[in-house]
């Protein structure tokens, strides 16, 4: 009789308790898939050794199981100047297509990244590309999200970015305006010379 591998191993193990079942199932799954689940290994030291071997000795600061590379703003700026940029000269949000039912688009999702990795399908234009880092110095990227006609930040409904990235974008654009890296839309100041005559 053909049985699933985990079930076979369970029977072979002859475990009666639920905990035993769980353990044996996980062990067989581990062996099949090479999942890195540190708590299943013997001691903490062994776990650390395995982690180090896998990550090549890097000290993973923020995320333990991060599949998302953390890229510096400088690298992002180089990326936007490089040939590796594959957006055909258009803004990075131009070819992004949102998936929703009906004609009227709902507001974009709250965030695409949870616990340091992509947790949704069809991530937004910024989350899907690790090398697009929103930073006030990264003027080439920020300009793509600012309207050349009104001087305002484009709505997330148009660009398709998630709300968290949209808020971060607004913060970085405001900082760029403050530093003078981006040109802000300014009102025309009108003077009344009588005010200045003493």
């Amino acid at each position: 009789m053909k049985m699933a591998a985990p079930l076979r191993s369970w029977i072979r193990a002859g475990c009666q308790t639920l905990q035993g079942l769980k353990d044996s199932l996980s062990m067989s799954l581990l062996q099949k898939r090479n999942l890195n689940v540190t708590r299943m290994l013997g001691t903490e030291k062994e776990a650390e050794a395995v982690e180090e071997a896998e990550t090549g000795g890097e000290a993973g600061e923020a995320e333990k199981d991060s599949r998302r590379k953390v890229v510096s703003p400088e690298t992002s700026m180089k990326y936007l100047d490089s040939e590796a940029l594959g957006y055909r000269g258009k803004p990075v949000w131009f070819y992004y297509r949102r998936n929703f039912k009906g004609r009227k688009p709902p507001p974009t999702r709250r965030t695409c990244i949870r616990k340091g990795q992509l947790s949704t399908a069809s991530p937004c234009p910024i989350c899907r590309d690790e090398y697009l880092v929103l930073n006030f110095q990264n003027v080439k990227l920020l300009e793509q999200f600012v309207s050349p006609y009104t001087g305002e930040v484009l709505d997330s409904m148009l660009t398709g970015v998630c709300q968290k990235q949209h808020q971060q974008l607004i913060i970085e654009v405001m900082q760029a305006w403050d530093e003078g890296l981006l040109e802000k839309k300014l009102p025309t100041r009108v003077y009344d010379y009588k005010d200045y005559k003493s």
Partner: protein, 365 residues
């Protein structure tokens, strides 16, 4: 007295510490004199500056430039020099998206519309006042040593009555030693931005005006943007405004990038600054190279108005007819530092004018 004071003005009370009732505030802040109606507590006026005409090594006087700048004659000269390139003034701007409006008009209606448009564009070319940086006068209004150490923070009282202009707003500070002083300008600017926020003006000075950022922007030739933002952010007699604008004007002069500022509101101030500091040779050269002889004449006349004791002024005064070429020649001979270049370009311009006249005569005959 206190009651009448409250009824006449709206008083706003701020401090770094706790907020008390209006009554307490007035009791603390009110003086025996009704300082709202005396009008004595004006800005630092320039009468002291006018008397102080110290000459420095370059011969520029430490006078207040604003009375000369605001003269009608001078304003007219500067307007003419600025020029009016309609395409540049009405050029692409960042504004809210609007649908285009199409109208069917008669010739007279079209002319009227064009005139109105011209008027609106002329408003854009209004020059920001050219002033010296202000000097804070901190005359105490009253000394009340009995009130010393009334709190751990100073209290700032701002008159937020409607219809009062920011520059004439009464702002006083109750110091910790009990004295009541007129607020320094920096405090008044902050209070104005709190109670009367203006679009384009930030509460904290933008980092754009720091050394590094300014240098970067000047090297990228973003002159107009820096000057526009300085106009929005600062008052014309703010030391920061004066530093930034003078820096940009001298950078434009060094780079000879006068064409960038032509037909903008800043060209008049640039020209005035250069003439005030006797640095107008490069500008004059630029005008002659572009065959703008009337502008060159206007620049020299401006020089004579600003420096009436100079040799140029006397030699121009001696001329019977103020012909453009003669006026410019008088300047070159007396005041110019780049004599050779200016003479050369003037000669080239005269030759070009002559050949043009001849060709016109031939074509007409």
């Amino acid at each position: 007295m206190a009651a009448s004071f409250i009824s006449r003005t709206f008083l706003s009370y701020t401090s770094c510490g706790s907020i008390r009732t209006l009554k307490d505030a007035v009791a603390v802040g009110c003086t025996r004199r009704n300082f709202v109606t005396t009008g004595k507590y004006q800005q630092a006026n320039s009468e002291d500056d006018k008397l102080n005409t110290v000459q420095n090594s370059q011969g520029a006087t430490h006078q207040d430039p604003f009375p000369i700048f605001s003269k009608q004659e001078v304003q007219g000269l500067l307007e003419r020099i600025t020029g009016f390139n309609a395409l540049k003034v009405a050029g692409p701007q960042k504004k809210p998206l609007q649908r285009a409006v199409y109208k069917l008009l008669t010739d007279e209606q079209l002319d009227k519309e064009l005139q109105e448009a011209h008027g609106r564009l002329k408003e854009k070319l209004q020059m920001p006042p050219f002033m010296n940086p202000y000097k804070d006068n901190t005359t105490p209004l009253s000394l009340d040593p009995d009130l010393a150490d009334f709190d751990t923070a100073k209290y700032v009282f701002t008159d937020i009555s409607y219809g009062v202009k920011d520059r004439h707003r009464h702002v006083v500070v109750r110091e910790l030693d009990g004295s009541l002083n007129i607020a320094p300008r920096s405090t008044r600017e902050r209070m104005n931005q709190i109670y009367n926020p203006r679009e384009g003006r930030e509460f904290f000075k933008p980092r754009m005006f720091n050394e590094q950022n300014l240098e970067r922007m000047i090297s990228k030739k973003q002159y107009i943007y820096i000057l526009d933002r300085a106009c929005c952010q600062f008052e014309p007699d703010d030391p920061d405004y004066v530093n930034v604008t003078r820096r940009v004007y001298s950078a434009v002069n060094d780079a000879k990038a006068f064409e960038d500022l032509r037909s903008t509101r800043h060209f008049g101030c640039l020209a005035f600054y250069l003439v005030w500091n006797r640095m107008s040779d490069l500008l004059l050269l630029d005008m002659l190279n572009r065959d703008l002889i009337s502008d060159a004449k206007d620049l020299v006349i401006l020089h004579c108005i600003i420096h009436p004791d100079s040799q140029c002024a006397t030699s121009v005064g001696r001329l019977e007819k103020e012909e453009p070429v003669a006026v410019v020649k008088a300047y070159i001979e007396t005041e110019a530092k780049l004599k050779a270049q200016l003479e050369l370009s003037l000669q080239a311009m005269e030759d070009a004018m002559r050949t043009k006249e001849k060709s016109e005569e031939r074509s007409s005959s």
